[in-house]
Amino acid sequence: MKSTFNIHRSPVFWSLLGFTIVVAAFLLVPVVLSILTGLTNNQFVGLSSGLTLKWVFKVWESYQDSLWLSLGIAVACLASTLVMGVPAAYVLSRVQGKLARTIEEMLMLPVALPGLATALALIVTYGALGNFRTHWTFILVGHFLFTLPFMVRSVLAVLLSVDMHTLEEGARSLGATFVQRFCGIVLPNCRSGIVAGSLMVLTLSIGEFNMTLLLHTPLTQTLPVGLADAYASLRIEVGSAYTIVFFMMIVPLLIALQLAGGRKAHK
């Protein structure tokens, strides 16, 4: 029961609202604090030392390579999960039953297993293979395994919610080939799933750390790895400024993700 126009709320309502606000504050206050710290001249003195962008510029100068690398890997990761994940989701929607469930679960394993284990497994197997180890594609492989299930699940959920079979049967009876049906009917119908999956893949790839810390080399330092480095070795204002740069990349994606999810829910 949703009490929409109830002005006289019960004490239970107010205490629950208070609790929820406290939880939200717990999540947001540190975000605000870190942004402020990154813009403060001297954190020890506090805000009275004045606001500045010098830390952000400093981070931009010394770490922008990591930002471009992270973006590049995220886009490549998106491309590969699109090319391989969307068809795989379609196949899973066609082949229902125990086999499909098993395949789905197997694809989920890289998410269920600790990233550290997957990264170690990749290193002991392919670490000595030519210069693959020092190439950015080595990180890409890890990110691909980790993000693929999110694309597959997102698309699969949409495919299972529309009666694709009837649509396709209709097109087929009119003589449409498989490729025509896939591109003309399947892809347009699962657009919302593709959009949501894509945003999720980008967000996860940009923020991935557990695997990347082991997979990276000094030449292939991604943004979260650079962040860890800055937190450990540089003054707190620089770490905070770096965090601001990271937020600027990831927060728009997260907001887009929420909007996409909201649209889906209201359809």
Binding site: T20, V29, L116, Y126, I250
Partner: protein, 272 residues
């Protein structure tokens, strides 16, 4: 549409090939490497017997269990509240609660430092109030705070989705029969949300077991298993032991997910 079979198989092949080459084969190799060190196959036994590993395994599991229970309670209360009440600002509140959804562990570690580090908010406040800085970021408490920080957003999402699907008539019926808030909670809400809570809890547990970034940023003295694995690998160069430990960690995590799945009879990972 039998004739599509060739296409369907063709569409599966690239994923299957990638998965086999870069996941199945490496995992098998990891298992073998785990048994190829000084200790041989008994490295897998050592993971449970050697006091350093055993202690870390116990503290990792304990931490993950406590985090899971706390997250479920916090997100359960807030999620059900948000799903069942309409009020101005509800959507904003929901959006704020789910915003940190994909913050990586390193960043969350830094958030904990902002809250409870040497210059953090809470120590500063306690310093003003009681003249003593309560620094908690670098202890087990700091890890706990960081872990519930990243678990709350995703768990709340699952709870809201499940609570919105609950039939409001059930609650209405219970109320009209004179059930108190408490009885509605015990008899209607919790049973109705049980599958979602189990699924979300399993994911929360699995994520906490493998979480690494937060501990890495906090650079705590507490050795959670992922930190031990990292140390074995980088500082000790004991690749075999690192492999054995990460295989055991993976197995524990997977077992937790499989157990939750057997309880719900559904694909647990759907909540991820």
């Amino acid at each position: 549409m039998k004739t599509d079979r060739a296409w369907l198989i063709g569409m599966t092949l690239p994923v299957a090939a990638m998965f086999f080459t870069f996941f199945a084969v490496p995992l098998a190799k990891l298992f073998v490497i785990g048994g190829s060190g000084e200790l041989g196959w008994s490295a897998y036994v050592a993971a449970f017997i050697e006091p350093r590993y055993w202690r870390s395994m116990v503290s990792t599991v304990t931490l993950s269990v406590v985090v899971t229970i706390s997250t479920l309670v916090i997100s359960g209360v807030a999620g059900v509240f948000l799903a069942r009440h309409e009020f101005a600002g509800r959507q904003v509140l929901t959006a704020l609660l789910t915003l940190p959804l994909a913050f990586p562990g390193v960043v969350i570690g830094f958030m904990v430092i902002m809250l409870g580090g040497r210059q953090g908010l809470i120590p500063t406040i306690t310093n003003m109030l009681i003249g003593e800085k309560l620094v908690f970021a670098y202890s087990m408490v700091g890890l706990f705070v960081g872990y519930i920080y990243f678990s709350i957003p995703r768990t709340i999402l699952t709870v809201i989705a499940a609570a919105e699907k609950l039939d409001p008539q059930l609650i209405e019926a219970a109320r009209s029969l004179g059930a108190s808030n408490w009885r509605v909670l015990i008899d209607v809400l919790i049973p109705g949300l049980k599958p979602a809570l189990l699924a979300a809890g399993a994911i929360c547990f699995a994520t906490s077991m493998g979480a690494f970034g937060t501990a890495f940023t906090l650079a705590t003295k507490i050795d959670v298993l992922p930190m031990i694995i990292y140390t074995e690998f980088t500082l000790q160069a004991n690749i075999a032991m690192a492999a054995a430990l990460s295989f055991v960690l993976g197995l524990l995590t997977w077992a937790a997910l499989a157990f939750a799945r057997s309880l719900t009879g559904n694909t647990v990972a759907a909540a991820a």
